[in-house]
Symmetry: C2
Subunit: 209 residues, 2 copies
């Protein structure tokens, strides 16, 4: 069963908001109230969920805990993905340390960098290995995913090395378009573009400076 990109994104948000409801001790919720609370669309929630079968109870709503389990399973978050962070610059170090990144379904098992000064350090409990050992690190740790926080120039080559080493997916933070192969899906995140997009929506004031 295939999920379209916008739906996939929403399902992740649904899961996040359900956990929030669960913490608040809510065990059942209607699409209407759910939507009101988290600024979602009730019709869309119903349609998104109905796509996988009848999760709700007519006249009542959705059972929070049950739905969390179902969504976790649908999104394949019912296992743990082992992650290597490639490039221990500012961003890479932040990911290594960031709780909320390495937890639950994701575990950062190692970092690599070219800088000998960084090799051997422990950053947020994550050991840093030399970049030349990347393939070995991937195999030793049964790494599933790579996070690319290397300079733009190195991104394509690093992606290819990760593919070669047997990684199954790559999250790329370098501001370049990487040529990827379908067997190893690539997701791009460009932080600068988020700033640029936001800038466009800023209320316009006086002439450019």
């Amino acid at each position: 069963m295939s999920i379209s990109p916008p739906t996939l994104n929403r399902l992740c948000l649904y899961l996040r908001s359900l956990k929030c409801l669960q913490e608040d001790g809510i065990s059942t919720i209607s699409s209407r109230e759910w939507a009101d609370r988290f600024d979602l669309s009730a019709a869309q929630i119903r349609k998104d969920l109905a796509h996988f079968g009848g999760f709700g109870v007519r006249g009542v709503g959705y059972e929070v805990e049950e739905l969390i389990l179902k969504l976790t399973s649908i999104l394949r978050l019912d296992r743990q993905y082992r992650v290597v962070v490639v490039g221990m610059g500012n961003l890479g170090r932040a990911f290594a340390r960031h709780r909320g990144f390495s937890r639950g379904s994701f575990l950062v098992v190692a970092g690599v960098d070219e800088d000998p000064a960084k090799v051997g350090q422990k950053i947020g409990g994550v050991e840093v290995r030399h970049a030349r050992e990347l393939e070995q690190v991937v195999r030793e740790n049964q790494v599933d995913m790579g996070v690319l926080t290397v300079p733009a120039e190195a991104a394509q080559e690093t992606y290819e090395r990760l593919v070669e080493a047997g990684v199954k997916g790559v999250l790329n933070f370098a501001p370049v378009r990487i040529r990827s192969v379908p067997e190893v899906p690539l997701k791009d995140v460009d932080l600068r573009i988020y700033l640029e997009e936001l800038a466009y929506y800023l209320p316009f004031d006086e002439a450019p400076s």
Copy 2:
């Protein structure tokens, strides 16, 4: 003239790729070759650009430098936006230091944090002030945008304080949905969700562990 969200996103990518072409010394390019190089759609490039008037020359293509200037102007990147980073945790510190984030049209002018141990430090050339002085920092530095890298619990309140202080837009990295006002646009970036989305596309192997 309004731009739809997907188009806006592409225009930013176009600008990035044009700068890349410029560095390679290419002064003129056809939509076809441009698309081939960066894995874009030629028809879409033409449609996106035509929306703002005739930027190209029939039989020839687009003039790289001219187009960079036009896009920079359209995207309102022909000025500098002053940014405050709120929350000097792992992510906040990474943004303060990250070259490529604070450069060109964006300048990180200050950071704030609640932790007295961090106050007074300089991180990546950015001075850290106490969170209670947020409003003052915004006014003193004529801050345009706020970057929220605070814990989820503090995000809503911080957004409101930023609005009150006169910030014009907010980029939120906290994993919560903030209730925003239309005058101060909000853009959410949830790094965890990117990992989750990527995980969904990983080639399926054996049963969940």
